[in-house]
């Protein structure tokens, strides 16, 4: 396959700020005790894609990520780690590594995607239509905590900001309209010209762009070169390509076209044959002159690959998402975790020690070398490695990372406790994030406080 894969692993995302730090960049946040980046890399490996470029923002983060990758995937994957400055945006990151890209098409995946959608399916859809861009879209994740209808769930419904409005043709193959970010707050404007060309457009507000794109490399680079203001693939490059698909500006002006024609002389012919074989898409019909003569207009195709509803596909881009993903990966989407679940539908590492009358419910995970005292109860939670947990502790719907010490009689609900934290006795936490680095807590806290 003439595909290059770029994984955008980000840096220390501001949105996840209490959880990430210089030592733990976003890509290494644990999901069921594995860095989130490993989920993407393993999906790629499953699709037999072994050459990749991982782009990390910031030198410190790059060191951490690079170190982890070389240790974990030493003879399995051939990974190049590229460092780009912070805050260049996704488009900026691709611009920075442009000289590495040589293949005909480029698959760009966000490093925070936890999904079981095969990347191969996206690349195949891309190739089938000879598209300039193919975006993977998936259903908007079902909001918040499934059972504990706490404030978390309400927040999610209140904040519709993070999904898209997506317009597709009736066959659900072509992307005709996409609105992101601030545009969602406004009335949707659909261009009549494209509607005229296609006849019917299905508009969906319940789908979202999963940030996995296949790009035609030369088109991508041309757009990045010409539009130097473009910062984000999702908010700038993709909408631009979708907008201009019936009046394509790419491959027309200047050198790239000449090159293209020479380079792809053979491709063009085979493409013609392919195009003749299948029924023409509306792009081709639109491109034709008034009496079916040779194409007079330039068009390009923007395609979508819709992940089926049974697939899991969530991005780890907020604290809520972090909690949700951790819950799902050991819960309903447990095939993703790669662990073998016990008969009780949980994972307890053999080296973990449990005190008497301590129960670990289903959909839980207890990491290597962790110890729990007597009469504890753990429900729907992930507990990391080498944690020391006292007696009479309740952990519900929470994520406890590695090397955490929890005193007796604590109650932890819906919270994230980062590595190396220490909780004194009888601390009650509800919907909190506790920062790492040996913070000692001896207070009772509730709802959305950081420490």
């Amino acid at each position: 396959m003439d595909f290059q894969v770029v994984v955008l692993a980000g840096g220390t995302s501001k949105k996840l700020v209490p959880l990430v730090s210089k030592e733990v960049p976003k890509a290494l946040l644990p999901v069921a005790n594995r860095p989130v980046l490993s989920y993407v890399l393993e999906q790629l490996e499953l699709s037999n894609i072994k050459d990749l470029i991982v782009v990390v923002e910031g030198a410190d983060a790059a060191l951490c990520v690079g170190g982890w990758i070389s240790a974990a995937y030493v003879d399995r994957l051939h990974v190049e780690v590229a460092t780009v400055p912070e805050d260049v945006g996704t488009a900026g990151a691709l611009r920075a590594i442009a000289h590495h890209l040589t293949a005909k098409d480029v698959l760009v995946v966000s490093g925070d995607l936890v999904s079981d959608v095969p990347p191969g399916a996206v690349t195949a859809a891309h190739r089938r239509h000879d598209a300039v861009v193919t975006a993977m879209i998936c259903s908007v994740p079902v909001s918040g905590l499934s059972e504990a209808g706490s404030s978390g769930a309400k927040d999610k419904t209140k904040k519709p900001g993070r999904y898209n409005i997506i317009g597709m043709d009736p066959t659900k193959q072509f992307l005709l309209h996409i609105a992101t970010g601030a545009e969602l707050e406004k009335d949707t404007r659909i261009r009549k010209s494209i509607l005229r060309a296609v006849g019917q457009m299905d508009i969906r507000a319940d789908l979202m762009d999963a940030h996995m794109y296949a790009f035609n490399r030369s088109v991508l680079q041309e757009v990045l070169d010409q539009k130097d203001k473009f910062q984000s693939l999702k908010q700038d490059v993709l909408p631009y390509l979708v907008r201009s698909q019936l009046k394509s500006e790419i491959l027309i002006n200047g050198a790239p076209q000449g090159q293209q024609a020479k380079e792809n002389g053979n491709d063009k012919v085979s493409y013609r044959i392919l195009a003749n074989a299948s029924t023409p898409s509306f792009h081709e019909l639109y491109a034709l002159g008034p009496n079916g003569s040779a194409p007079v207009r330039r068009t390009h195709k923007c395609c979508v690959y819709i992940a089926s509803n049974s697939k899991y596909c969530v991005r780890l881009n907020s604290i809520q998402a972090f909690m949700d993903i951790n819950r799902d990966v050991i819960g309903e989407a447990n095939h993703l975790s790669g662990y073998n679940f016990s008969a009780q539908n949980n994972i307890i590492h053999p080296s973990a020690e449990l005190g008497s009358k301590t129960t670990v419910g289903p959909h839980c995970m207890l990491g290597e070398g962790s110890q729990m005292g007597d009469k504890c109860s753990v429900k729907r939670s992930v507990i990391g490695r080498h944690c020391r947990i006292g007696s009479n502790v309740k952990v519900v719907n929470s994520v406890v990372m590695n090397h955490v010490t929890i005193g007796d009689g604590c109650s932890i609900q819906g919270s994230v406790i980062c590595s190396n934290a220490q909780l004194q006795e009888r601390v009650a936490l509800k919907d909190c994030q506790v920062l790492s680095l040996s913070t000692s807590v001896f207070l009772s806290l509730s709802s959305n406080e950081y420490l």
Binding site: P160, I165, G167, P170, G181, A182, E183, L184, E185, K186, D187, T188, R189, I190, R191, K192, S193, L195, R196, A197, V198, G199, Q200, M201, D202, I203, R204, A205, D206, K227, K229, F230, Q231, S232, Q235, D236, P239, Y240, R243, S244, L246, K247, E249, Y286, G289, P290, N291, V296, R297
Partner: protein
Amino acid sequence: MGAQKKRAAAAAAAARVSEDPDDLARQPLQAILLADSFTTKFRPITLERPKVLLPLVNVPMINYTLAWLEAAGVAEVFVFCCAHSKQVIDYLENSEWFSQPNFTVKTIESHNIISAGDALRLIYEQNVIHGDFVLISGDTVSNMSLTQALQEHKERKKKDNNAVMTMIIKKSKPSPITRQSRLGTDELFMAIDPNTKQLLYYEDKADHSKGTICLDKMLLAENPSISLHNDKQDCYIDICSPEVLSLFTDNFDYQHLRRHFVKGLLLDDIMGYKIFTHEIHSSYAARIDNYRSYDIVSKDIIQRWTYPYVPDVKFCGNRATKLERRGMYRALEIEQSRSAQVGSFTVIGYGTKIGSNSKISDSVIGEGCTIGSNVLIEGSYIWDNVIIEDGCELRHVIVCDGVIMKAGAVLKPGVVLSFKVVIGERFVVPAYSKVSLLQQPTVHDSDEELEYADNSSGTVEFSSIQGTADQSNGEMTSESSEAHKPKLGTGGVGYIWSICEGGQEEEWRHSVAPIPEDKLTELSEAMDDDQELVTQDRTALSTSGELISDSNASEGDDNEDSKDDSVYFEKEVEATFLRAVEENVKVDHVILEVNSLRLSYNMTSADCAGAVFYSMMKLAIKTPHSSASELQQNTANIITTWQKLLKSYLLEIDEEIEIILKFEEMCLESAKEFSPLFARILHILYDKDILQEDAILRWADEKEGADESDKVFVRQSEKFIQWLREASEEED
């Protein structure tokens, strides 16, 4: 409480529903047939004969509609007649429609009705509709089965009392180049919920200048999935609940069924009435809206899409016709010369004679026509008793009853000859002209919005015209025939209607003639330009710095709006103030007026303070003065007189600072004369207790870090500020 009531109402509704099936079984299906389209698209023909009686493949249109209604199971039809009502009623009385078993046709007549809305209001007053009814106009051809649509409508109605109407739609993609459907109607944009089939958006009469469709954000918030359609055609067959009639009565401004009623319901979310759609796939439904649809529907009938309503099947009012090879229909007693060639998809009516070497193809010839030799007829509609002499050429034209074409006359594509026109020898009628014995009404306005008004004048005019028409029916009045002889060649009778301005280039859109090639190229080029403009706009915007042009553009608009608002507000306040000064209005009243302005423009009291102060200073500068000191004196006077007004807006320090800033701005821009006086006037304001020392000091502090150019006035009042500071320190 409210919920309980609702539940009770729901229960009552449910109880009613449970009885419903029996009721419905007993309730015969009714229909309202509007025998008037309330438009002028078929003029000049419709000046003499109502549209529903125009022959469509040799059968008056209304027969297709009535035959379909009967077949679809409608028991009672109310035919609403307006223009030429007498002709319609006479026709129906003499037809077999009044003597059908299980199918009653009743006519309702009115003369002062100018729109479909008025017609429905009148029918509501008559109280004849008791249940669901089919609303249709008398120019619709269909063979669809109503059963399923009706069933769906009733089921929806049971579940949701607000589902008042089901619209029938059919797939038909308009040409992207001409932006009109094959029936010649404008392109239609609809948004439909793909699951419930509810209609969410309807836009016909598209505004071509707008390149986008704007869907309200609420719409998407409520419906996660919407299908936008540009590939559907409205069949103008509606299944309505009785509420529709009362809705027309409640909203007396609803005139047009689509433009007012449908859009009104879609926009009005208070009542929550809903419209649904039903798409038909294999059956036929089309409304004849203009000459192009007349042409297309005729062809569809000949090609048997409308079966069983085709010429060789007897349905009502058509004579026995035989179908021959290649879609040729021939009635009885045709005299055709051996050398005449009648081509495919042609209908020849009863008793028509065709001379030698004439060629006819893709045309409909009525009854009793006489066609000479060497005549060429292509894609044309010749009605009854037309005489075409030797060597005439007709391409894509409509020729009404009793027309005489003298030898060698030529009709260019798109010509319409109304009743009994005579075309002189070898005369060439230019393309798209309309010829009638009647003169063009002087108030002819093609503007759709004025159509109603126009139409009313049309009907009035009509009665007066009827007389002349009758006269001309017998024999042409000598003056008219003579005056216009030269226009239609020797022996020609009739007037060529001038195509009204603006309509000229649009004429080809709705004509019977196919759209000429060059027009298409021209249009597709125009389309490219359009596109270019759109993308240019966008790239211009996106390169000029920001990323998503659309949102930014509208944001810019918003900003401008609010800017405009504040400018208007300032002007209003100034006007109010000046009036108050002139008329010696009491201060309290002025405060009231300014307060009401503040509310209507949604401004803060700081804005008011700024605006009032601005007006006062403006007044001071306008009062005649010879020197700076005089100006200062004027200002002091005005401030003294109106200090109460100004003080009523100075609730907090912020507003006082606003005044200083405003003053500064004035000194720099609009009223430079004040700039040397800045410090002194500041002092006056302080003396009058309008500004407190805190405000002045804070203003001075704020300016501390500003640019040098901004500090001019702080410098100027340095001494004063100094003095203030010292004073406050002393107090401490």
